[in-house]
Assembly symmetry: C2
Homo-oligomer: 162 residues x 2
Amino acid sequence: MSTEEFAIRPIGWVRASRGTTTDDFWGGTVARIELDAAAFDPSSLAGLTDFSHVQILYLFDRVDPSTIVMRAEHPRENPAWPRVGIFAQRKKSRPNRLGLSTCRLDSVDGLTLTVAELDAIDGTPVIDIKPYVLEFEPRREEVRQPAWMSELMRDYFSPYQK
Amino acid sequence: MSTEEFAIRPIGWVRASRGTTTDDFWGGTVARIELDAAAFDPSSLAGLTDFSHVQILYLFDRVDPSTIVMRAEHPRENPAWPRVGIFAQRKKSRPNRLGLSTCRLDSVDGLTLTVAELDAIDGTPVIDIKPYVLEFEPRREEVRQPAWMSELMRDYFSPYQK
């Protein structure tokens, strides 16, 4: 198998009020995604508002590649949580620096989507948008996750506290 | 904003019995993902089995770039379904050719994951693995999708019929 690299090109960019990275308090935030007008027209989004949610794939482009974790470490450097592998956590400093968020879709206007609680900062390159489809989600079985993750996520989607 | 391209490098590859593309009947299939041993060791997967499900990001590398859809078309070329934009369907021939599947994680052994019903064919490059986290999924609201998608998905995860 080849380890060749693949080129990924942004399809659009995030427009959001938050311009620097913060871990928590994404609750109640609203962001826009503006598609690249040189590559797309509004037909690329036709029918999307028939879906309540979308999955946004994006690139953590502000992450310095030299900080990428390849092995295991404590999530958020918190020694109270176990050392887990980079593929067992959602840390930004990860191989390929890819982000994935499921968001409520509020509206589509031309080449602009408005979405709720997208945890990506202003200017983030978006590389795909997919409709959220129930049949692709966990089927016939319960979802299980470790206690540290539930604890870590406690304030992630809480409203912003000044 | 720059439209610069980003390089993505496979972190591993899918090992599966299905070697050519088919739309339906992924039910009951089992696949392995083998991480790139030149880049990773088993610590990168430490703690992953505490999660019941994983999200797999991969590249539809067998899709001919010349077939990529940028606008709207009938899903599966079925005129009974509406013409919808490429970002309102999950067709493989899409910008950046990125795939995303949520799978039940059955086991981890060294650098090999075994997952249920991964809808990717043998040799597919995997570009990220994330734990499935309940808090990142739809919150406080119902999920809604159009009837054509529910119809399209009817046999997607049905057992394979010879």
